[in-house]
Symmetry: C2
Subunit: 203 residues, 2 copies
DNA sequence: GAGGGAATTCAACAATAGGTGAATTCAACG
DNA sequence: CGTTGAATTCACCTATTGTTGAATTCCCTC
């Protein structure tokens, strides 16, 4: 309280702006995650943030750039995934499953991931984001493991992750949607381990 | 040619109508599959079918019912899947993979499947279609195999199939998108076999 | 308390969408 | 030929959306 005396309120970003931007960002993430790029409207986001629609575009320029800003992955997750290769090789599948499910269970990161996946169906830019994450970040993990055909393995892992998120959170297929996180990790771990270090059919 | 003398042209459905309905159906499937429910417009479908937009709604009533009509699965596929349990148990994963990939490679059925999956992100009815297919049709297969936790197994299988379709055809992640069908079956078979008849972590 | 600049709102535009109802073409039949 | 009924088109309405530019409020500084 008494933020009115905040000394940073001079020329830089002031609490007012920061706070409003934050509110818009959070609301936009939630709506993009729940409705996808097309159905999430600037008006809806503005209302959810308690703000005029014009203010949203005033801060973010356009719906397109708003989406891009808001669905950026926090820095470090890519490295976290890639460095799973440093641990014991025989448990890399399980550890990857743990990281993925944890990200999906945390509401903040879940909104970012679901916004991307849900929007990928109709919004080419969102599809590109998903594609890059698999082709770059997951690929780094596979490459670090020194296995054959790392690209194919990365995409199989990616499709498993995307499929799980899609089925559990977007389609809501039961009982997968209600399964607790630990059980889901148990089910996913062997599959990911197989894709990462096992034999894959292709020659 | 000379369809003008067709005797069925009396009171029942005439070639003219049938032909036009068919053209609209095909165009609608393609556009729903390529763009999803929201971005596929009645106008676009009508143009693709070489027809006036009003004719589309004249025949199908509304965009909603058009979508429902056009994304119906051909009768028999549900049974085909369920009866995979009749064959040798140790190859059920591979045979399911073959059926699924074949359906996705055939342009006609692919459009139906992709229209459903792509629209599921933003259109609740489409999500319900996907959900039902997994919770009913795939579940029947699992149940016919007499394994424990058939529901969990069905959803894991479903998420694998949906994830593969999503990654390969919608996101277009490489090299998965360019992989030939046989190689894809090879990669998927062990996973599906594991989910259907193997140990799954959950107690 | 007056000035100024940012934060915020208001009103409106142009584009696009699904849907409707009247009008029109068309082909078969008496 | 002229009627009939379906097939098809036309013009139009309403709702929504992204976006814009002017107006207004707000808060700090002098």
């Amino acid at each position: 309280m008494d933020s009115s005396r905040d000394p940073t309120r001079r020329s830089g970003r002031r609490p007012g702006q920061t706070q409003t931007r934050e509110a818009i960002t959070t609301a936009a993430r939630r709506l993009f995650a729940e409705a996808g790029y097309d159905r999430a409207t600037i008006r809806g986001i503005a209302t959810a943030a308690g703000v005029d629609p014009a203010l949203v575009v005033h801060y973010f320029g356009s719906k397109e750039t708003l989406f891009r800003e808001v669905t950026k992955l926090p820095p470090g997750v890519a490295d976290t995934i890639a460095h799973l290769a440093d641990g014991p090789r025989e448990s890399v599948g399980r550890r990857l499953a743990e990281v993925v499910i944890a990200s999906l269970e945390n509401p903040a990161s879940r909104d970012i991931i679901l916004a991307r996946i849900r929007s990928a169906s109709t919004h080419p830019d969102a599809a590109a984001l998903v594609r890059q994450t698999v082709e770059q970040d997951v690929l780094r993990l596979a490459a670090n493991l020194d296995v054959d055909q790392p690209e194919v393995r990365a995409t199989l892992v990616g499709s498993t992750i995307v499929g799980t998120a899609f089925a559990r959170y977007i389609v809501g297929v039961e009982p997968l949607a209600s399964l607790d996180a630990a059980a889901l990790v148990d089910a996913l771990a062997p599959t990911l381990q197989q894709y990462l270090t096992g034999e894959i059919g292709v020659a």
